[in-house]
Symmetry: C2
Subunit: 137 residues, 2 copies
């Protein structure tokens, strides 16, 4: 079970103590991500002139936009993964089919080789018989 932690973060130059199950490292990463966004916003001259309220909403929309973009990536990757799984399923069937053909061919070859030994024996037998007849003449 995860432990409840008190974690201190600094966001937009203000100190907050957060109480939750997330690790200190994770919350520092989240804080740093939000602070980077504030830095980018503040680089725009027009940002300073906005009301606090719209500043907050813009920040929320900006983070939510990152979220939805990742969500879209997840969807795309899930589709790709499904396609790969289907491809793998088909190719695994192909492997089984090829192995079955290979086994059948090996059996046919073994049978053919056995028949060949029999035929060679038969030839030797007939040749011997012919030679014996030759001698009996």
């Amino acid at each position: 079970m995860k432990e409840l932690n008190d974690v201190e973060v600094i966001i937009n130059n203000k100190r907050y103590t957060l109480c939750g199950y997330e690790s200190d490292a994770y919350l520092q990463m989240v804080a740093s991500y939000i602070n980077d966004k504030y830095d980018l916003f503040k680089q725009q001259d027009s940002y300073a002139r906005l009301e606090t309220d719209i500043k907050n909403t813009l920040m929320q929309i900006n983070i939510a936009d990152d979220y939805f973009k990742e969500k879209e990536k997840v969807r795309t990757l899930e589709d790709e993964l499904e396609a790969k799984n289907n491809e793998l399923f088909d190719i695994k069937h192909e492997v089984i089919s090829l192995q079955t053909k290979l086994d059948e061919l090996k059996k046919e070859l073994d049978k053919e080789k056995e028949d060949s030994i029999e035929a060679q024996k038969q030839i030797v037998k007939l040749e011997t018989e012919l030679k014996e007849r030759e001698h009996k003449k």
Copy 2:
């Protein structure tokens, strides 16, 4: 090229006009996502007693947390996809190797069948010779 749009959204009961390249549908989805978070927050009695500043920071952290969770999903899916691609690469090699074996075996079988026809001809020839000798006696 995308067009610049003015889109009106309502977030936390306030109307905002956003100017950007995102579609109206996309921004309404984002607004609805943020409003759902406000609704959840407001269900907690303690939320009302918080200062506006901490309320905003909590919202930012909450959305950023969703973002990082999706980002983690993307990482996991990318790893899975890489593993599948490696598996596919290996299995495609196996298919090629099986097809090569199959071709070799087919050639061997054809050779064996040709030899068998030759052996049968030889047997027939020898048997005929033997019969002829029989008649000449």
